[in-house]
């Protein structure tokens, strides 16, 4: 019961936040000197009437506050509007969301499955050669700009011919068997996943290591050891459970990054995901599309934090007892 009340409270708090976010984004986009019709204006074969019609269709002839009200009204109704090319924003997003989800989910799963154990291993073998090696490797991972790394891998793909140069499927995808199709997608995913994995692995592994080291150094662990508990019990029953809490908060942020985290890599690898779509929309000042993606990002972030907090309540009895 208390949890439900807490959730409701958090949702209510999110509403003004969303309104402010939408207002700021809308005005910044609209007040920037990007004219969505500039290209058309300079095309000798476009008539004045066509320009007029386009202006009306995009609502550019109305004051900005009216434009915002119109957008907000249809947004509340669940209608994301149409892009500047006349396609539905929702269909555009639907085309891309699965692709981005596929990429980010694989990356998040991989990093957590590899990063957490590596962090634990490094903490348990603190200052051992293994720990040092991992520290060096993760430093490299954090230091390489993802953009640069992605370009390097692309050049690698061109030179060796081992990997496709960007994209998600080959041009003869339709003719392949189901297994062939799965392999084809996997083949295309290897490079982008490598880039994103290297990058986020470093952060996660270091976080896990630091948390566990902190906990291992605390009094109750020393007490447990003094009491004569087996090392296994000390680490995996007591220390780990306490060390994992900050990771859950991190997981909340990862959730928010599900849809927006990979734009840079998507762009370099020509991956048909949301990131590329939104970048192109920003360049064109395609307001409905940009707004939809910004709102989606904001909602995902709020939702991610909420989920993390709820998970924390479940895992950490100390929070449960204090004022929820």
């Amino acid at each position: 019961m208390q949890i439900i009340k807490y959730i409701l409270k958090r949702i209510l708090q999110a509403i003004p936040l969303l309104i402010i976010v939408s207002l700021i984004s809308f005005f910044i986009i609209r007040l920037s000197p990007v004219d969505p019709l500039a290209e058309l204006r300079l095309n000798p074969s476009v008539s004045q009437e066509t320009l007029q019609k386009e202006t009306e269709r995009l609502g550019l002839d109305k004051p900005i506050i009216v434009q915002y009200a119109k957008w907000a009204k249809s947004f509340l109704k669940g209608d994301l509007g149409i892009t500047s090319n006349g396609e539905r924003v929702s269909t555009k997003l639907k085309e891309r969301i699965p692709n981005t989800l596929l990429l980010t989910t694989i990356v998040i799963l991989l990093t957590w499955l590899v990063g957490v154990p590596l962090g634990i291993a490094a903490a348990l073998h603190w200052k051992s050669p293994l720990d040092r090696l991992l520290t060096v490797l993760t430093s490299i991972g954090m230091a390489i700009p993802s953009f640069f790394f992605a370009v390097l891998l692309l050049i690698f793909a061109v030179k060796t011919g081992w990997f496709p140069i960007g994209g998600l499927t080959s041009s003869d995808f339709l003719e392949k068997s189901l297994l062939g199709q799965i392999l084809d997608i996997a083949h295309h995913l290897i490079l982008p996943v490598t880039v994103l994995f290297t990058l986020s692995l470093a952060g996660l592994q270091r976080q896990m290591r630091a948390n566990l080291l902190d906990v291992l150094d605390s009094d109750y662990v020393k007490f447990a050891r003094a009491k004569g508990l087996s090392e296994f019990d000390v680490v995996y029953k007591h220390a780990l459970r306490n060390a994992i809490n900050p990771m859950i908060t991190l997981l909340g942020f990862e959730f928010a990054g599900l849809l927006s985290g990979a734009a840079l890599t998507e762009y370099v690898f020509q991956y048909p995901g949301l990131g590329r779509l939104i970048l192109e929309a920003v360049m064109r000042s395609d307001i409905n599309l940009v707004m939809a993606s910004l709102m989606m990002g904001a909602i995902m972030l709020i939702l991610g934090n909420l989920i993390a907090d709820i998970l924390l309540i479940i895992t950490d009895p100390r929070i449960r007892r204090s004022d929820v």
């Binding site: 066509t50 090319n85 927006s260 990131g275």
Partner: protein, 613 residues
């Protein structure tokens, strides 16, 4: 939220970074590439002809007989198509892709540029009347015959009634009236324009829609039509008349076309073309990725730019592709001065009176023209891949006035012209007008276009040799457009426009005094006072006459004269046209590259020779 914004920012920065890298990587000022790429390839294209077999009117290819099968992978840069409805497309990529699927009544001869019959078997023009005979036995991809009903429906119910993108309709209105279209019999159609109107014949290349597919959509109204045959439509619903039909569209990845078994072009052995099973367009985000894809073997054909040309030419010898020079394109790059003498609402001049005196002075404009070093710009900015330009029509235009000669940079002549108008230089070499005002003005172009920015820097240097002080200000594209078409507060600008190599009438928006892009002397919409220069009046007259005359030779005379006026008066000082360079794998045969049609204009005749090395 913050994160998304940050990511976008980083991507933009990264894109800019990559962009500038590419430029830095360009070879420094160099002599013309001595790689044999400077001359255009000339070809002897065996034109297609009409043949009738068992009552069916085919068009027969006279190119060597090839082998069936295989696919050609090309690419488009950007976001990919917005629609597959040829009547809705507003952007080049959508139009190009829908033209793959839908043929028009007429087409363009890839070498001569004259109209040739496509879906039409033959055509004749008599003043206002255009009589079109259709091919018997030609079918849509679903097997239904293509008849006069489809043609009349397309023109009357879609185009004249204003469905979809109305630019075709807008461009054929003469004196407020539309042409008419009438069905004579099942295979004969007559178009009548209200007055003789030459550009109309080019409009007959507009795709023809299958009535049985489009009619229900038209009945549902214009709003529905705007979403009809969008990119979300299942490929099986497309009924086409072109060489290919849609097979698959994967957003942000590719468009796949498969061969239309009912296409009306046959080879010398009377087999139905096209040879290729599939035509694939990959949707790539930028030029760099496109080049990588070509080098990685995922692309078969690519347009090349800048430093890549020299690199590809070098690799060509031991690779499986050949580089073709297709000649200058329709793009024109020019420098323009603001000839505006009007005042704004507040009673202030758009251009300050002292600057007006300079820009209005023909000697001044010609001096600027002589001071521009076009050749130097071609070598240093376009890597030698450009052709100096002196005429208003592009170099591949069939209306190009070949009497207008090119001339080299001539500073003495420029100085003489300035002296004639009373300009003088002080001891430090600075230029003053006869009222002792130092000659100083702003030069704009759009920031981010590295080519124009480079031209700006060189123009500034060239004009400083005349003692002028030029403040070069690249501004954001939208800001620049706003200056040109709304606020008119600019002195000099570097811009580019693309025109049609076939129809100069498309330039009337630029050259006629009431045009919306008459930027060198832009008048606000609805401006009624006649303050045209004499040569502007003459241009107006020539463009009206040029559109009314239907005979090519007669028209050419009018358009020659307009080019002569532009050449003498210098409202635009043309700089150069880029040269189009493309590379294609050598396994493709029956290639007849042409300046007008490019590499793949005869896509149905191109085939793959697997044994080729």
């Amino acid at each position: 939220m913050k994160k998304a914004g940050y990511v976008v920012l980083v991507v933009i920065l990264a894109a800019i970074f990559l962009h500038s890298c590419v430029n830095i990587d360009r070879p420094q000022p160099q002599v013309k590439q001595s790689s044999g790429i400077t001359e255009e390839e000339t070809v002897d294209y065996p034109s297609q002809r009409n043949v009738t077999i068992d009552g069916e009117d085919f068009r027969q290819s006279l190119a060597p007989i090839g082998k069936f099968g295989g696919s050609l992978v090309a690419s488009t840069i950007g976001e990919g198509p917005k629609t597959f409805n040829p009547f809705n497309s507003k952007d080049n990529i959508s139009s190009m892709l829908s033209e793959v699927m839908y043929d028009g009544l007429l087409g363009t001869h890839p070498i001569t540029g004259q109209p040739i019959p496509k879906l039409a078997k033959s055509f004749s023009v008599d003043g206002n009347d255009y009589l079109i005979n259709l091919r018997r036995g030609v079918k849509w991809s679903d097997g239904r015959p293509i008849t006069a009903d489809d043609v009349v429906f397309t023109w009357q119910n879609i185009i004249f009634d204003g469905y979809g993108n109305t630019s075709t309709r807008d461009s054929i209105i003469v004196d407020g009236k539309l042409p008419t279209v009438t069905k004579i019999d099942d295979y004969t159609v007559k178009f009548t324009t209200p007055k003789p109107f030459a550009p109309f014949i080019r409009m007959l290349s507009t795709p023809i829609a299958p009535k049985h597919i489009f009619e229900p959509a038209v009945k549902k109204g214009k709003e529905y039509f705007d979403t009809f045959l969008s990119t979300n439509t299942p490929p099986s619903q497309f009924v086409t008349s072109g060489a290919f039909r849609l097979k698959e569209y994967v957003p942000a990845q590719r468009v796949v076309f498969e061969r239309n078994p009912n296409y009306y072009v046959i080879n010398k052995a009377d087999q139905k073309l096209p040879y290729l099973d599939k035509l694939v367009y990959l949707i790539v985000g930028d030029i760099n990725n496109e080049v990588l894809k070509f080098e990685g073997g995922e692309l078969d054909v690519i347009g090349l730019q800048g430093a890549n040309v020299a690199r590809f030419k070098e690799k060509e010898k031991h690779s499986d592709f050949k580089v073709y020079n297709l000649g200058p394109n329709t793009g024109t790059m020019f420098l323009s001065m603001n000839l505006n003498t009007r005042k704004n609402d507040k009673g202030e001049f758009y251009v300050s009176p002292k600057k007006q005196r300079w820009f209005q002075d023909k000697n001044f404009r010609q001096a600027v023209d002589y001071a521009i070093d076009r050749k130097n710009m071609v070598f240093n900015i376009a890597n030698g891949l450009g052709a100096p330009l002196y005429t208003a029509e592009s170099l591949n235009s069939i209306f190009l006035n070949k009497d207008l000669k090119s001339y080299p940079r001539d500073l003495d002549k420029a100085n003489d012209l300035l002296a004639k108008s009373g300009f003088y230089r002080n001891k430090k070499g600075k230029l003053f007008d006869k009222y002792n005002n130092p000659v100083e003005f702003d030069l704009y172009t759009n920031a981010g276009n590295t080519e124009r920015e480079a031209i700006g820097v060189m123009v500034k240097q060239d004009l400083e040799d005349l003692g002028m002080k030029v403040n070069f200000k690249p501004v954001e594209f939208n800001t620049l457009v706003n200056k040109l078409v709304n606020t008119y507060d600019w002195d000099m600008v570097i811009m580019g426009l693309t025109g049609s190599p076939l129809e100069p009438n498309g330039g009337k928006n630029v050259w006629m005094s009431d045009g919306t892009l008459h930027m060198f002397n832009q008048r606000p919409a609805g401006y009624s006072k006649d303050d045209r220069f004499d040569w502007e009046k003459k241009l107006d007259e020539l463009f009206i006459k040029g559109a009314l005359a239907t005979d090519f030779e007669a028209r050419k005379k009018y358009y020659d004269e307009y080019q002569k006026i532009a050449y003498d008066e210098k409202p635009f000082i043309y700089i150069y046209s880029p040269i189009v360079i493309s590379a294609i794998r050598t396994k493709f045969k029956n290639l007849y590259p042409s300046m007008l049609g490019g590499l793949t204009h005869n896509i149905e005749e191109i085939y793959i020779d697997k044994n080729n090395k």
